[in-house]
Symmetry: C2
Subunit: 564 residues, 2 copies
């Protein structure tokens, strides 16, 4: 009746839980090592797949991740759904209107950044298709694919890297992101052509008709579809439960659009992606809806999908060093140099031009999706698939570091780096203002290795002269202390509230004593700004003082406040 027997359900759930759990843990480790999460997710899949787990315990691996039978079909149903939803989110992130507004610099970088690697890949693919591992298809189709694979850029990974480096609103970031958008669009359209001419669709339409219908569908979705979605959204929001109505609208139409492109004869992901672009461009799509969709897909579905990719091949058996090195070199050199030259031409300085080149080189998830589809449709073999995945991993892992290196070291303003379990005082009830300040200053001074008595004198003197309550139930008593090399922060909580001389008359629940070195005013200010950002909401401090008792809880609380 259910289609899945007792044993199938057990294995399906177990496999899914293993993929999700392993992907998340490995993703977190990657973030800890300042790498994109997708790197960890993929490596988790490689570990669970034939490469590692399968080599060590083939029987157990085959039982957990079967390749045939109902559990395997259910798992691949999940993966197919996941890839379509991932492309929906990738489409939503694309802001076409921002691209139109950009100056000629974007056009130059995008054009050169596509044409140089594409031409190289096309030429190489045409010259030696067998050497690159082409399947038994027309060399020109394989050459088109290889060109696309080298030319593609991964918008989500770059956006994430630029956000992490706090460069997202700089001129180079706008150029990189806008060029990457055009890159993605062009790449997927060429790939749709390749699939159409390969006849993946097994013949509802002829290849030529498939290609023509695909282009017509894309044009319709980006014009009439975009207009219709923009008109329909306010109506849906007005006449349905929020957010269920909008979410159902988005997912239903994305799946319909996906089913349509699959039926036309290209892959379902095109439909999902194009509908995502139309949806993301609507000014009526609220930030909270966008966040809901992205959260749903990015936190659970996408990691599971990326982990499942590692199951597809044995990354050691199909590792072909000359091929890997050739793909890495061709892809990276043409992309970095092409974009760097184009950026100089468009007027960026040397440093910025290198940064743009390195940024555009990040391949990330898009390259992997492209490789997976090519493998699944018999366009390429496992050897080239493995090489493309490695190209994606290597470029995604190095982009951030290389961009950072262009601009030198940047400092992060996260005040929690200067708080430790020693300097955290969760329950201070009963102290008056100066008592509390003196006590916390002494704790901070001891942790920083300076004299507690003179440090607390300095802080209390500053407090008497200037006060330190900044509103929102927070006070930040501070002083510069000679001999200190690093800032030290002591953080005290008082659930009852301490009377400070506050501008808003509210009692203070969080007292943050900051001792900073004599010579670093910029760091001092960035810490104050960071504290201001975290305690932006007037209720945060009181809530914190009421609910937090341990350092772990404090970190959890602030992470969630800061993560909004």
């Amino acid at each position: 009746m259910t289609g899945l027997g007792h044993q199938d359900v057990t294995m399906f759930f177990l496999a899914l839980a293993t993929l999700l759990g392993a992907a998340r843990i490995a993703g977190e480790l990657a973030l800890r090592l300042r790498q994109p999460a997708v790197v960890g997710e993929l490596l988790a899949g490689v570990a669970l797949g034939p490469t590692v787990f399968g080599a060590l315990a083939p029987a157990a691996q085959g039982a957990l991740f079967p390749t045939s039978g109902p559990a395997a079909v259910a798992l691949s149903g999940f993966a197919t759904l996941a890839i379509a939803l991932f492309l929906l989110v990738a489409g939503i992130e694309i802001d076409l209107s921002a691209v139109w507004k950009q100056s000629r610099s974007v056009a130059i970088v995008a054009a050169v950044g596509i044409v140089v690697p594409f031409a190289t890949g096309f030429g190489a693919g045409l010259a030696a298709p067998r050497w690159f591992g082409a399947a038994d298809i027309a060399p020109v189709l394989f050459a088109l694919f290889l060109g696309t694979a080298l030319a593609i850029t991964a918008l989500p990974v770059i956006a994430r890297i630029l956000l992490d480096l706090k460069l997202f609103h700089s001129a180079i970031a706008v150029t990189i992101v806008s060029s990457a958008i055009l890159n993605d669009l062009a790449g997927w359209i060429i790939f749709a052509f390749v699939l159409a001419f390969m006849g993946i669709g097994q013949g509802v339409f002829s290849p030529g008709a498939t290609a023509a219908i695909t282009v017509a569908f894309a044009a319709a979705m980006l014009t009439a579809g975009r207009w219709a979605v923009n008109r329909a959204l306010p109506w849906v929001q007005a006449h349905s439960e929020w957010p269920a109505g909008v979410l159902a609208f988005a997912f239903t139409l994305a799946l319909l659009s996906a089913a349509l492109t699959e039926w036309i004869g290209v892959h379902a992901i095109f439909g999902a992606f194009l509908f995502g672009v139309a949806l993301g461009d609507s000014g009526h799509l609220r930030r909270r809806t966008r966040t809901s969709i992205e959260q749903m897909v990015s936190s659970i579905i996408a990691p599971g999908f990326f982990a499942s990719i590692g199951l597809k091949a044995d990354f050691i058996r199909h590792f072909d060093l000359p091929l890997v090195l050739t793909v890495l070199a061709l892809g990276s050199v043409t992309k970095i140099v092409g974009c760097r030259v184009a950026a100089r031409w468009a007027g960026f300085d040397r440093r910025e031009s290198w940064a743009i080149g390195f940024g555009m080189n990040a391949r990330g998830a898009m390259e992997i999706v492209l490789g997976l589809l090519a493998l699944a449709s018999g366009l390429i073999g496992e050897r080239l698939f493995v090489a493309l995945v490695i190209l994606a991993l290597a470029t995604s892992m190095t982009s951030g570091t290389l961009i950072q290196w262009c601009f030198g070291q940047r400092r992060e303003a996260s005040f929690m780096k200067h708080v430790s379990a020693r300097t955290f005082a969760p329950g201070m009830s009963g102290d008056d203002r100066f008592e509390a300040v003196r006590k916390l200053a002494a704790i901070a001074a001891e942790a920083g290795g300076v004299d507690p008595v003179s440090a607390s004198e300095a802080v209390v003197r500053h407090e008497r002269l200037y006060g330190s309550a900044v509103g929102q139930s927070v006070a930040i008593p501070h002083a510069r202390i000679p001999g200190l090399t690093q800032p030290v922060i002591a953080l005290g909580l008082d659930a009852l509230g301490i009377e400070f001389d506050t501008p808003d008359g509210r009692p203070v629940h969080v007292v943050i004593v900051l001792l900073s070195p004599m010579d670093d005013p910029a760091l001092h200010l960035s810490i104050l700004a960071d504290i201001g950002r975290v305690f932006h909401n007037p209720e945060t401090a009181a809530h914190l003082a009421r609910s937090v008792r341990t350092m772990t809880e404090l970190r959890a609380f602030l992470r969630i406040e800061a993560g909004e």
Copy 2:
């Protein structure tokens, strides 16, 4: 390679889109008719299944929702996952600690409310198993199932009804919800026994061992598991990205727990449900995490699942009127009368006791899940399945109305009911305070059929004497107008802001002129309270004035503000 061919992917996506879209639309219609959304979702499935669509166009229905082949397996994989996640959320909603705190009234109502229908069902099932449509199994097992089916209560549906009726924090609501929790727990444990003794698990353990291990697992999850989840949550929140880390933690462990119970030999949903109870009881589970999980499951996954239930049977062919009437009568009478008598005994008055009886009678989703599992495991046939689904629908649809009838008519305080397109003035830039008030008062008076001149005089006089700016950039000029039978509201927006004599010195962006009848101070106050609630956030008014231009956009905006 992917397990799903081109045709399969097309049909899988098309089927899923149809289910999600139809479920949402029918769910919205049900809400519009003041019915629980699940009623609409189920009926959408009945329409798409063999009952309607299949009867009209069997070939098309069979193509869209195949019963065998990869697309069917992928779809049933989705449904299996959906049912487990739905039970996870049902478990999270159960607050065991609240139950322990309740007085003896809960114990009495819960005990009688379980025992009376259970004993009746058990007796009837034992006396005439064949007549009720038992499969070829031991009559005592069928009798246990029928008792459980009549005794079950649907926590999510009741909670929703009580929320809708604004009764959720009343004493009867606490009694109903707490009794329903005990009801659910007892019902599922009995059902697990039935499944164990039927040997659904196909023999990893003997039936007795399966039952014993299930009880041991449940006990462990509700004690040690609960403790471990509560210890682990802050650590996960502190050391992972929010919300991805917590969500992965919840879903991974829910799936593992589900796989474990499926392997033990009862159904996967028990594991998901028990883990949900353990997770929901943790004080460290933040409201936003809870909301994220519930949103993900309730808005997309659960409606799709409920619609898919309608595909399982032909509700006309298997409709057996005597059986349906018997099940309805036995189930409802024993539940309503049992709970009503118990509530009187526990000290509630007549009206409240009837309300408790009607509330406990709502079967909703739980009954349907129970029936579906019994059908899938061959415990019952289609006839009884259809009767149980009808019992669930009928009791869920009538509970709200009957409870309302116990307490008489209640008025809703939604100020937007009194605003119409005629009284909405989106762009008022340039007016000064009294000009704006006069203009809006005249619009409102015309819409209410009273004299505009004297009405605007009255409002302006009131404004001069008392002022009407209430902070948060909102002003509510008002007056009581003789001859008016209904309140009328005119709502004006000014993106630039109007200088009122505001307590916080901020300009006013939203002016809400309220004309109310002379004799209804309670309604007047409830409208003011409603306005205060909607404009709780200080930025809402300015944002509204900047972004809204039409009545549809206004409704959409306020729905989302109010829906938080």
